[in-house]
C-alpha cells in the first residue's frame, strides 16, 4: 500500500497531477451546474411573484 502511494519515488509529481486534473474537471462540472440551479431558482421566484 505504501509502495503504491510512494509511486516509486515519483509521488511528488504523480499525485499532484492527478489531483489537479480531478480538481479542474470537477470545477468544470460543478460551476455550470451550480449556475444552472441558481438560474432555475431565480426564474422560479420571478415566475411565482408574477402570479401573485
Amino acid at each position: 500500500m505504501i509502495e503504491f502511494f510512494n509511486m516509486g519515488g515519483y509521488a511528488m509529481f504523480v499525485w499532484p497531477s492527478y489531483a489537479i486534473s480531478a480538481l479542474v474537471l470537477w470545477l468544470n462540472w460543478y460551476l455550470p451546474r451550480n449556475q444552472h440551479r441558481k438560474l432555475l431558482r431565480q426564474l422560479q421566484s420571478r415566475h411565482g411573484s408574477q402570479q401573485q
Partner: protein
Amino acid sequence: MFLWFHKFGSPPHFYRIAGKWIPWLSGLFLVLVTAGLFGGLIAAPPDYQQGDSYRIMFVHVPSAWMSMLVYVAMAVCGIIIMVWRMKLAEIVLISSAPIGASFTFLALVTGSLWGKPMWGTYWVWDARLTSELILLFLYLGIIGLHNAIEDKRVAARAVAILAIVGAVNVPIIHFSVEWWNTLHQGPTVTKFDKPSIYWSMLLPLLLMALSFQVYYVLALFQQCRAELLRRERNSKWVEEL
C-alpha cells in the same frame, strides 16, 4: 434525418434531451474513469525507463488530445454558425471554450510535472509544450472576445470567425514551432523514445481518453443548459419549466 437535425437544434428540445442524458453520461464517465484509473495506476507495470512517473501520461495524453479535439469541434461549430446561423451551435461553441481551455491547462501542468523528474526542469521550450501554450492563448482569446461583446448573438458570430481563423492557423503554428524547435533544440532534452507501447499501458490510456471524451460531452451539456437558460429566460418554453 434532416427533420431530426432540426428538432435537435431547437433550444427547448436540446435542453430536455441534454437533461435526460446527463445522468447516463455521468454514470458512463464514472465507470470508464474508474476502469482507466485502475488499469493505469494499479494494473499497469512501471515503465522500465521512467519508473512510475510515466503514470502521469494517463491524464496528460488524453488532456492534450482533448484540447485539440475540442478546438476542432469549436471550429466546426463556427462554420455552422456562419452558414446556417444555428442558435444551438453558438451555444455549443462558447460552452466548449472553457472546457477546452481547461484541458489545455491540464495538459500543460501535467506535462511540466512529468518534465521535472524526466527532463530536470518544469518547463522546456519543447515543440509540443510551446504549441500547447499558444493553443491556450487562442482559447483565452476566444473567451475574452466573447465576454467583451455585449450582444451575445453578435458575440457568437465574432467568436465563430475567430475560431475558424484559429483553426486555419493551428496547423501552421504547430508546424512552425516544431521547425523552430528542431533548429534551436539544445542537448538537454532527451526525447521520450518510444519502445513499442505495451498492451497493459495502452488499454488504460485508451480508456482514459474515452472517458475524457464522455466527460467533454457531459460538461458541455451541463454548460449548455445553463447558457441556454440564461439566454432564453424570457421565452415561453422556459416559463413552462
